[in-house]
Symmetry: C2
Subunit: 785 residues, 2 copies
């Protein structure tokens, strides 16, 4: 077991590596060449279009202003300068509330750490049992400061019990205040928002099939009848995966065309050429600009045909639609009420933001949703408890005998000593590493299969799954020996009172492990986050090899966003560690405090300068954060009860039984009191906003505003193609260049399907830019053209 010296060494190493990361970051960020890696948010918000120093050719790439090197650590105070309201308008409420979680951590654990260090450490340290045991057992110094050091049956446990009470009340008080604040922030944010299409729109699923009638017709009739004074219009949802692929291809061609035209402009005497064959490697050499124009024209024809197919084919229309109302009140009413006798038909819920919609899942029928949820729950359970089985299988394949059997020709290679040791020592670990790296993506795929209709919900569901995984495999897995499956089996064969006892008794012994974990994952890991090493390398590689046009440069920038599916669960794990150890081994708390403070700085900087959120859910994740901190409290209370019962302090256990009941009651109260603010939209608010905006919003105006907002992305490109066709008819001669001009002009950014950041996210890009208004300014292309 680790001594205080070991911990100190580990702390030193981790602090050193954190500082190395920070130093590297501080030096790299002031180089103009890296400007788009470390300040992309400013490019996106339009406040910066090129690096600040543009002295000479060298100055374009390397910072020559030596004064900035002296003040290279000034990003920290800079990051603190922005006020919360500025952050909300700069980066959105999601980011602002995300930062508040770190502050909440500091607020919760700061006073607790002080109280615990002042009261519990002396109580634990003074004349405990472990001093006498030292010779027989290997006991760490950390343990002498923990509850393990108290003699069984000691009256001192009442200190711990009363502290558990005190701390629980403190945590609940802070949680209550924070929930209240976040709820009111959310309502204010929604109230101060301008006119947005999602305020007027409801997503309707389960439109029943009526023969001889289109979905749009059914929807129109139904809502005209049941919301006669409020219904405005509806938009059908199309199944358009094939069309989206064509659009993507067209986009790539457009990009090549731009590149070639740029080239031609620079060297007007040499027209660029290309070979017709595969990847331009062989075949007849032709004029590039003509070639691409021709290809685009071909594709446009295909697109038109596909469009007509979709329009004619009634099966291409899904049984879902976006229904818009003429007031926020009307939409709020429709979203919150049951429409039909059969509650699996005409299901209404608030439409997500247009850019937040996950179009693929809109068409899933009700029964299928139930089945999907069941299957995915079973799969997640299996993944959490049995994930080691497939990995062990892969690892067994990756061993030498397996490989030799599968691939005989590799035998001479494998027999080399170096390769042998590499495979034996490295591959099994690599398999696990790859799995853990892929895990969030795998969980995201599972969430998608579950059938949620918004990216924000998908990310929240993924975060929940990831949390369960961490809870079982990182927290419990580190405390109890054996794989998760073995634990599950053991738990099933233990009594309800035995489980917390068995887990609780090993809790204090694992404190040193978790301290090291916090330093590695929390301290050095967060410092690595600010360095953005992967993004830096990828950006420069892309810059050197792929970037052909200005558009590509924008795309290569990749600001990223707060990865909620990963950051929220790991944050919640830190809360869990802090709350479980606050009474047991309070020496762990300062390490957590350092994590919260440091991570707050780093993420504040990233939110201000780097991240560009893809959607705005108005802090819809907060109830989950709150709920999991409450769960941590309950786990902590159970484990303390188990721990105390092994200390023969059984008479004190009943004193603790009241605490979970009180905690649960508090949770229930908070749920009733605040959660509706995150799930429903009060009519009072809707009426207020309606009255405010009544003067400026006429009905006709609203209808034209809403008619585009939830248009399936497919239709935006249709309009353009129509435009192009019309022009072709009129001026036959200029057809190609006009069509192309119309498509790539800044006012029609609809072919914006190329902005990618991961294989699993491609469908997100069907998200629409509402023509004619700039509210959804998330897509890089439309901004900088």
């Amino acid at each position: 077991m680790a001594t205080l010296g070991d911990i100190g060494l580990s702390a030193f190493i981790n602090i050193l590596s954190a500082f190395a990361f920070l130093l590297a970051f501080a030096l790299l960020r002031i180089q103009p060449i890296n400007d788009r890696v470390y300040f992309p948010k400013w490019y996106i918000s339009g406040k910066r279009s090129s690096p600040r120093n543009l002295g000479n050719v060298v100055g374009k790439f390397v910072n020559l202003n030596f004064k900035t090197y002296v003040t290279f650590l000034n990003w920290m105070p800079q990051a603190l300068k922005m006020s919360e309201s500025e952050i909300i308008s700069h980066a959105g409420l999601d980011s602002a509330v995300f930062l508040r979680i770190y502050i909440l951590g500091l607020k919760i654990f700061g006073p607790i750490a002080v109280a615990a260090l002042l009261v519990l450490i002396p109580v634990n340290a003074h004349g405990g049992t472990l001093f006498f045991l030292q010779r027989e057992l290997v006991v760490s110094n950390i343990d002498k400061l923990s509850i393990s050091n108290i003699r069984p049956k000691s009256y001192k446990f009442f200190f711990h019990i009363s502290m558990e009470y005190l701390f629980t009340f403190w945590v609940c008080y802070m949680l209550y205040k924070e929930y209240k604040r976040v709820a009111s922030m959310r309502l204010n944010f929604l109230a101060s928002k301008g006119r947005h299409p999602e305020q007027f729109t409801v997503l309707v699923r389960g439109v029943p099939h009526v023969s001889g009638r289109s979905v749009s017709d059914s929807v129109e009739t139904f809502f005209r009848r049941n919301h006669p004074d409020h219904y405005l219009c509806n938009q059908a949802v199309y199944k358009a995966n094939k069309f989206a692929k064509l659009v993507k291809k067209r986009n790539q061609l457009q990009n090549w065309l731009d590149y070639n035209q740029l080239k031609f402009e620079r060297y007007p005497n040499k027209r660029p050429t290309i070979r017709r064959g595969f990847l331009g490697l062989w075949g007849e050499r032709v004029d590039s600009i003509d070639f691409y124009n021709e290809q685009i024209k071909d594709l446009d024809k295909k697109l038109t045909m596909e469009r007509q197919k979709i329009l004619k084919e009634p099966k291409a229309v899904t049984r879902a639609a976006f229904v818009s109302f003429n007031s926020r009140w009307g939409a709020a009413v429709c979203a919150q009420t049951q429409q039909s006798k059969n509650p699996t038909l005409w299901l209404t819920k608030w439409a997500p933001e247009p850019r937040d919609i996950y179009w693929k899942n809109l068409a899933i029928p009700f029964l299928s949703l139930t089945m999907r949820k069941l299957v995915i729950s079973i799969l997640v359970f299996a993944l959490v408890f049995f994930y080691m089985i497939p990995i062990a299988f892969v690892q067994s394949l990756a061993n030498l005998e397996g490989l030799e059997r599968v691939a005989l020709f590799l035998r001479p290679l494998i027999e080399l000593n170096f390769v042998k040791s590499f495979i034996q020592g490295f591959l099994p670990g690599l398999a696990l590493k790859i799995f853990l790296h892929l895990l969030p993506k795998l969980l995201m795929v599972m969430s998608k299969i579950e059938g949620h209709v918004a990216i924000s919900i998908l990310e929240r569901r993924t975060a929940a799954k990831y949390y369960y995984f961490m809870l079982v495999n990182v927290f419990l897995g580190s405390i109890v020996t054996g794989t998760a499956f073995q634990q599950l089996d053991a738990f099933l064969h233990q009594s309800a009172t035995q489980i917390p006892r068995n887990v609780g008794v090993s809790i204090p012994m694992k404190a040193t492990f978790f301290i090291t974990y916090i330093m590695v994952d929390g301290w050095a890991g967060i410092a690595g986050e600010i360095l953005r090493l992967k993004c830096l390398v990828v950006f420069h590689l892309k810059h050197m090899f792929i970037v052909k046009t200005e558009r590509d440069l924008e795309k290569a920038m990749d600001p990223g966003s707060i990865k909620f599916p990963e950051t929220l669960p790991s944050l919640q794990l830190y809360f869990l560690l802090g709350i479980v150890y606050m009474v047991v081994t309070p020496i762990l708390l300062p390490f957590i405090l350092v994590f919260f403070a440091f991570a707050y700085f780093v993420y504040r900087h990233q939110v201000i300068n780097v991240y560009n959120q893809k959607y705005e859910s108005a802090a819809a994740f907060w109830p989950h954060v709150h709920g999991r901190i409450i769960a941590s409290l309950l786990i902590s209370q159970m484990l303390l009860m188990g721990l105390l019962s092994t200390k023969k302090a059984a008479s004190s256990t009943p004193l603790l039984v009241v605490l979970p009941i009180l905690t649960l009651t508090f949770h229930k109260y908070c749920k009733n009191r605040f959660e509706p603010a995150f799930r429903k939209y009060p009519l009072e608010e809707a009426v207020n906003k309606d009255t405010q905006h009544r003067a400026s919003e006429s009905n006709a105006d609203l209808k034209s505003y809403l008619s585009d907002a939830y248009l399936h992305p497919i239709f935006h490109s249709f309009e353009d193609v129509d435009l192009a066709e019309v022009r072709v008819d009129k001026n036959e001669a200029y057809a190609p260049s006009t069509s192309q001009g119309a498509i790539s002009s800044p006012s029609s950014p609809q072919y914006a399907y190329q902005h990618e950041d991961g294989p699993s996210h491609d469908t997100r890009h069907y998200g629409v830019e509402p023509t004619g208004n700039n509210m959804y300014s998330y897509d890089v292309e439309s901004q900088h053209h």
Copy 2:
């Protein structure tokens, strides 16, 4: 353990007593004198006003028509004659659906019994272990037909597992069909209902306090603002418990006055007199009619003062109100949406029927509700698991030493042998009996403290509590030895897999006990229900001693109603027994089938001829019935798993694990698919009904209709007093008799507070008769005057 012979004897005794009850019933019911005991429903519905045979004086009391004695068992076919739709219009949907539960029992267990008897009994009986053990253990013949007879590790268990699957699917299929049917019956019932005030009215709670503004004002402003097109009017809720007491007293006096006037009319030459003193036993002798008139006049003055006090005192107005809308659509919208930013204010839900409201609980604030629920849950938990403790305490007090110590003067009496054996043998049992008799009332009081606002909800919550009690103390308590508390302690110290094993293994052994239980409680008990012995005796006693006026006779009738808090849980217990034993000891099933069939006959007769429901919840209890049958399935699966694991058929257990998951999924699906029909009111339906009735319902008409419907009962009496006062002013001389005439006339049945049927129900009678319409025809007085 009981042999087949014992069971046969028990069956014989129970069948005999059931037949005795039935015979007594058949003879008693055709006596004219008992007509109001056995056919009160017909008197209430106005289709009968006096017994059928009115030949001579004797014929008035005893049936002299001997033909009817021959056909005295014809009530059974008669009970079946009425069709379901007739029952719905005759007794309401609650009763009709309640009867369907018995049919559901027959539908579920009929085929299961056939399949189990044909397949499982031969499998169990053939060459089992128990034949060899017979000499060593006392094994009943019943056990030879049960799963206990199968040798460990036998392949035969696959019969049982596949049967469990088959039966589960069958039960789920029947449940699905039934839920679907009941949901559509409910919707049809609501759709076919005429204009009722609860269709337009929403109960608003948590009206915030605004200084200098009345509650009614606040409500008016808020709803005018947030439901501008739909708001119609609102009605305040008053705290009026003291006033209600005065009204009750006045009612009694009125009754005495009626009695004396009747007397005077009969013997006009002798004016009735009364003594002024206590209970009319001593004091000055005065004229009764004058005396009561004077007393009523006094009380009227007091009532006026109290009224003015309530009207002037703003604290007498609670923070709740009934808000009415001008369309069903508007009310449906308001009931289903969130009104305010703060979800603990302006809480809206559908108003219950006026006669269903439990007025006392309307004023409870939100925070208090949370606390009440917590406290009551803890109390119910304590009651279920620790109820033996106070009873043991009382029993220990009731023993001889205790009594002698407390009451020395009783010693000579106690020393008598007869008294001694009585106290020792009878009193402890009596304490338990009294407790079990009082239990439903105690649970009802608990539900009232929980703060539900409708009697129907109170009864459902009481039924739920009673079910938990029965589940733990009757079902588990009979299977596992020891008190519930000891079981709880044992369960806490057993592993999750051990509990079903321990319970499961004793399941087959208790089959004989439950068979006897079914015969005693189910067969003979139900036959006792139809005899209505208690009501018969009470009616005749009242008739002899108390009944003074026609009104009293009506009251003495006491039709009662289906006691949902007791009948539903015991029904659910029968389902539990049937489902648990269907695979383990299928010989139990025929006994349950007899219970369902017989109880169906009896309750059908009672519903048609006797019961008079006090409210109509449109089968709102169905989701609970459904849910508890699902819970029974889960319990059965768990116990079978536990049982099989003791039979060393461990390899078969995984086969059963899938079943609970499937059952839960089915439950979830049903919940999503059907439960909204019981919780919400679809807008489609509201619009349909609005359109239907638009022609006949003008807004002004509606307003006057609704303005009275949810008037606090206090106001109805005010109006009368006002009327009386006005008349006094006009015709001083005739004042007393006019006032009295106005009050007891059929058109103003507002002083109808006396109709009682239990001490815990008194507040229910604040329920209002909406003046001017006869829809709420539940109150005896208003119908037959």
